[in-house]
């Protein structure tokens, strides 16, 4: 595995591996109900389905800001793995979120994250949380700014210790 030349991105091969590692091997991602919607090199699009347990304001049904934070952190981390040739462990270093407007209640929230720079020790990420009008599906291209709910910038440290869930999933291990 370690001496291979860089492989071209094979979306069909990668998609089920990413879905598996993302939910089955990261308990809080599964607990939040996060779903991988699309992937591209260095890019992940997730869906956070609305549900009552994640609500911040009980009267309006608007999701808690912390649920959006968790969505953006998970999306950011996943996009770093999609930038790597060989998965290694990562840990969030910092995460900054600007909340543009409250998420409309009882509607799903999506996030698209791009790892735009992968250094030797640090990965740099930008992400957008957004909602879609009825009938529109989420793809891997950037959402229209009228739909944005929050924007984020994050950095992740590339670790040297432990094992990564993505590494295990790509080797077919649990």
């Amino acid at each position: 595995m370690s001496d291979e030349a860089p492989r071209p991105f094979d979306r069909d091969r990668a998609f089920p591996i990413v879905q598996s590692a993302f939910r089955d091997m990261v308990p809080f991602n599964a607990a939040l109900g996060l779903e991988v919607v699309d992937i591209a090199p260095g890019v992940v699009v997730l869906k956070l389905p609305w549900r009552q347990e994640l609500v911040g304001n009980p009267r309006t049904g608007v999701l808690h800001g912390g649920a959006i934070t968790a969505l953006l952190d998970a999306c950011g981390g996943a996009s770093v793995f999609l930038k790597m040739q060989k998965p290694i462990p990562i840990a969030t270093l910092d995460l900054r979120i600007d909340y543009l407007k409250p998420a409309a209640p009882k509607r799903d929230v999506f996030a698209r994250s791009e790892c735009y720079k992968l250094g030797r020790s640090v990965a740099f990420v930008r992400a957008i949380a957004y909602q879609l009008p009825d009938g529109e599906g989420a793809g891997s291209s950037e959402p229209k700014d009228g739909d944005w709910v929050a924007t984020a910038a994050a950095t992740f440290m590339l670790s040297t210790k432990g094992d990564s869930v993505m590494g295990r999933a790509s080797r077919g291990e649990k």
């Binding site: 308990p27 809080f28 991602n29 999701l63 808690h64 968790a70 998970a74 462990p89 910092d94 900054r96």
Partner: protein, 148 residues
């Protein structure tokens, strides 16, 4: 009709009786995260009880960064409820979270302080730790828009 209608009576009761848990429990995501509030020496300490569903990297195991972000934001909102006279639900503008140390499979505590209270914007700092307050696992700065 304001958004705060459901929380206002709970907030009023919390301020008179010192019973903050009903206010926390009224927020579904706070319940989901297992949050509780205790006032100690005039400081509102928020506790996120450990639960396996909060884990991010199970090989360590370490808490998911999103849970710490949510805990810090919750502590920040609660300090605004606790310290301010106004009862308006604060609207978060932004937050920056620094992840300082791996958070392990333990309860996590958090508290917040108001660093600047302006006419419209309040700046809050929050810190989270587990078994050693001098070795925090995460810290955050947030800005809130106060709508009275």
């Amino acid at each position: 009709m304001s958004d705060e209608d459901d929380l206002r009576p709970l907030l009023a009761r919390a301020k008179t009786d010192g019973e903050w848990q009903p206010l926390v429990d009224a927020i579904p995501f706070a319940r989901y995260l297992g949050l509780s509030i205790k006032i100690e020496d005039g400081e509102a300490i928020c506790r996120m009880k450990f639960d396996p569903k909060l884990v991010g990297n199970y090989t360590i195991p370490a808490l998911h960064g999103g849970t710490l972000g949510a805990l810090l934001e919750s502590a920040a909102v609660f300090v605004l409820f606790h310290a301010r006279e106004a009862v308006a639900l604060p609207k978060i503008i932004n937050v920056t979270i620094d992840y300082l140390r791996s958070a392990r499979a333990l309860d996590t505590l958090a508290t917040a302080t108001i660093t600047k209270q302006g006419r419209r914007v309040t700046a809050v700092q929050a810190i989270a730790w587990q078994d050693d307050r001098s070795r925090p696992v995460a810290a955050a700065n947030a800005h809130f828009l106060l709508v009275d």
